[in-house]
């Protein structure tokens, strides 16, 4: 198929634990360096706290913790990717984020059924770019409150 006629979509690529993930660039509002984050007591553990963004207060999620990985200190490459879904605006803290790529639709396949555990639910698909694998995230699932907070609900009530 000639390159120009392939249907493509733009993605922001970021890294977490050395793995590359992609989010539709339409869902991404902006990217920021990590500035001050105010912790919110009694919030789920993967919620790092609140950040100010264009006069609005939004929650910042540590994606490592959300996916069940260990926490690392922020460094110069740490980024806050601000995603917007409906009326919700949430910041995702990732190890680094630099790339903006157009991914042809036909290289994205559904997640292999063998992928189990937490990550399965918010994986929308897997894209193969040359020798790289990009895990495409379903942002709605990542932000899904009920699923994300399940372990905390009993604790706080």
């Amino acid at each position: 198929m000639p390159e120009e006629t392939r249907e493509k979509e733009n993605y922001i690529l970021f890294k977490l634990m050395g793995t590359t993930y992609g989010i539709k660039s339409n869902d991404v509002q902006q990217m920021e360096m990590i500035e001050h984050i105010t912790p919110v007591p009694n919030a789920p553990a993967f919620v790092e706290g609140l950040v100010f963004l264009r006069g609005q207060v939004i929650p910042a999620i540590n994606l490592r913790l959300r996916f069940g990985f260990e926490r690392v200190d922020y460094d110069i490459k740490t980024r806050l990717i601000v995603v917007q879904k409906g009326t919700r605006r949430v910041g995702l803290i990732v190890d680094n984020a630099r790339e903006f790529v157009a991914i042809p639709k036909d290289v994205i396949t559904p997640p292999p059924e063998a992928i189990s555990g937490l990550s399965g639910e918010y994986l929308e698909g897997v894209a193969t770019l040359g020798d790289r694998l990009v895990l495409i995230l379903n942002i709605e699932e990542v932000l899904n409150f009920a699923e994300a907070v399940k372990p905390y609900i009993q604790e706080n009530n």
């Binding site: 105010t38 919110v40 007591p41 100010f52 006069g55 207060v57 949430v90 409150f145």
Partner: protein
């Protein structure tokens, strides 16, 4: 998108529908305000009838445009009634007023149903009833009413045009007689004289009271009275026509008949054409931008301080001066944006008038409503959230507060009950008072009811109890003093919700009551939700803000004077034990207390509690940012703010903290 499908099968974009509903509700406010001024067997002011007629007319037109048949039919029927009133075909009767109130309620129900996508109530029965009212009464003949509406409006608009064009308009009356005819003065002579004088806008024959014939001419002319002074001998009388403000506005209205019309008129110098309707969301966005600017300014301030030692003094002075200018301008900008959000509370008060009338009618009581402080301005959002609480307080005042006529007379009170609504600005807050001159609160009855319902323990508040405690009790959920659930108290919300709503807005509710004198509720609200005075405190390595209106007092506590009772910490506060809860415990923070700590006293009555914190820092005006995302909506946090450095600071939620403190297991044993 199905709910936007109209009766005609058209799809109306939801933004137009929003406009439509907004427009209709504005007219309903005017309608309700006017309907309550109608009294049986009294001729209402012409202006009122006109205004009501026009409001229904507009709703009819708008409803037709968006295809809401029920609303259209209903407002048409109501419009007809006012047309009949205007043409004096009917008079205002008791039945008429009742059916009018019913109609307005029905119209509101139809709109609400449509708005929420539900099936509107049936209107057929009502349409028949009002038809009977309009046609069933004997038409009263009145002179001068033979003109049809259209002609009358046409003439009025001609008169309006002429006066607008700088002409004088006179109404001449000519009563022909044999004597005059003998002198050669007849109607055609008069007509030709008037034609010479100016332009005859209208000429009609009329029947005089004694059965004779007269002629009425309306003439527009540039000449003045001296030119026709002598005509008085020839059977002519005249009168100069002037338009009232309302008529001017009305004629104006006729011009753009059919088009979308503006909202309710306000008296005073504010001209209608100068009002812009803005989506509240846009103001929020504007406020956000101002907020960002505030943060940027704080950063600039920081940088200036840091570089100051590298800059020559003279340059530095200049920079500082510019900077403080900017600070001042920013403050003005912020205030300006706030002010746009402010609306007069009068609109809410006007709605109450209708409620009073409605509930009084159902309860067969006679109640007069007095309103003052109409123009007091308050944040739009605050007004909206206060609507339901005020409705409830007013309904309560009518159905529980005010006695029946007989009871009142027996007590030597005037037979008509009185409810007073008042609003005024006091410093940074707005005070709303709802007062009745009814029976007052029966403390004994309330206490015994509270005991039987298990709201208080048997030995708690054994004696009379304080007004504050009584208020707490009636605000406890599930409390109602009236045995039978009547229409008014059975529906809507309880005092619990009134209190929650007020406190949710960082306001406070208090009460004064005296047996047989009446009860007064006093609601104290911040001028705006966005800016509030707050106490800034530090504990467990974090900074928090707490809105000052919700704080009773801050006390210094010596650590070694805290008494420990099992899991509770208590201090003596004003001669009584008061539980103290460590903020760190509620929030899971590690605190480091010195020998002196601070207790923030919150709540009232038996629900009083002290929140213990390490340090009180300062008092500041803060910009409140709501926290809406479910991930961070936690109990005890009302929102966030920043203190100039762009770092979010959590705002504590007083009533949450009180509740968290009283659920023992959740806090002390955590």
């Amino acid at each position: 998108m199905d709910e936007n499908k109209t009766d005609n099968g058209f799809f109306v974009a939801s933004e137009y529908l929003d406009d439509y509903f907004a427009e209709c509700y504005e007219h309903l406010i005017v309608i309700k305000r006017d309907v309550v001024t109608l009294e049986p067997e009294k001729t209402p002011e012409k202006k009122v009838i006109e205004e009501l007629f026009r409001s229904f007319h507009t709703i009819k037109g708008l409803s037709g445009m968006v295809g809401l048949a029920e609303a259209e039919t209903l407002s048409h029927a109501l419009e007809d009634y006012f047309r009949a009133l205007r043409d004096a075909r009917v008079t205002v009767s008791k039945e008429g007023i009742d059916i009018l109130i019913e109609g307005v309620k029905l119209l509101e129900e139809v709109l609400t149903a449509k708005k929420s996508g539900q099936t509107p109530p049936s209107i057929n029965e009502f349409a028949n009833k009002i038809k009977i009212i309009i046609t069933g009464q004997k038409p009263e003949t009145k002179k001068n009413q033979s003109l049809s509406d259209e002609t009358r409006q046409e003439i009025e608009s001609k008169v309006y045009e002429a006066i607008k064009g700088g002409m004088n308009v006179w109404q001449f009356n000519f009563v022909p007689s044999n004597e005059l005819a003998a002198k050669g003065v007849n109607v055609s002579i008069v007509r030709s004289r008037l034609t010479d004088l100016g332009e005859i806008l209208n000429a009609v024959p009329k029947i005089t009271e004694d059965g004779g014939v007269a002629f009425e001419f309306i003439v527009a002319t540039v000449k003045d009275e001296s030119d026709f002074k002598g005509w008085a001998e020839h059977g002519l009388t005249w009168e100069r026509l002037k338009l009232t403000e309302e008529e001017m506005a009305k004629s104006h209205d006729e011009e753009d008949k059919g088009g979308i019309k503006r909202g309710p008129e306000r008296s005073g110098p504010m001209s209608i054409t100068n009002i812009v309707r803005v989506d509240l969301k846009r103001l929020d966005e504007l406020m956000e931008m101002v907020g960002e600017l505030v943060i940027t300014r704080a950063r600039l301030d920081d940088s200036i301080r840091r570089i100051s030692r590298f800059i020559p003094e003279k340059e530095m002075d200049f920079l500082q001066e510019t900077h403080s200018h900017m600070e001042r301008q920013l403050r003005n900008l912020r205030e300006g944006v706030m002010r746009i959000r402010m609306v007069p509370i009068g609109e809410v008060f006007e709605r109450m008038q209708f409620v009073v009338m409605d509930v009084a009618r159902e309860d067969r009581k006679s109640v007069k409503l007095e309103i003052s402080g109409h123009d007091t301005e308050i944040d739009k959002l605050v007004v909206e959230r206060m609507m339901d609480p005020m409705l409830h307080l007013v309904r309560n005042a009518v159905s529980h507060g005010i006695e029946t006529k007989e009871e009142r007379l027996a007590k030597g009170k005037p037979p008509d009950g009185k409810i007073r609504l008042n609003a005024y600005t006091s410093g940074d807050s707005v005070v709303i008072e709802i007062e009745d001159d009814g029976r007052g609160m029966d403390f004994e009855k309330i206490l015994s009811k509270a005991r039987s319902e298990g709201i208080i323990d048997g030995d708690e508040l054994r004696n009379q109890g304080q007004t504050r405690d009584i208020l707490d009790i009636i605000c406890a959920s599930g409390f109602s003093t009236k045995e039978e659930a009547d229409m008014a108290s059975g529906r809507g919300i309880g005092m619990a919700i009134v209190k929650n709503a007020v406190e949710g807005l960082n306001g406070s509710l208090s009460m004064e009551t005296e047996p047989d004198k009446g009860t007064r509720f006093i609601i104290n609200l911040p001028l705006t939700l966005l800016i509030v005075d707050a106490l800034i405190l530090a504990s467990g390595g974090h900074i928090f803000a707490i809105p000052q209106p919700s704080v009773r007092e801050v006390v210094e506590i010596e650590m070694d004077r805290i008494n420990i009772l099992e899991n509770n910490e208590l201090i003596i506060y004003r001669g009584a034990p008061l539980p103290i809860i460590r903020l760190g415990r509620v929030f899971g923070l590690t605190e480091n207390y010195g020998p002196i700590v601070y207790g923030i006293i919150l709540g009232s009555g038996s629900k009083k509690v002290g929140i213990m914190v390490e340090q009180m820092l300062t008092r500041r005006e803060i910009v409140v940012r709501p926290i809406t995302d479910p991930l961070v909506s936690v109990k005890g946090v009302a929102g966030a703010t920043e203190l100039g450095d762009g770092k979010p600071v959590l705002i504590l939620h007083a009533s949450d903290l009180i509740n968290m403190a009283s659920t023992k297991g959740g806090v002390l044993n955590a």
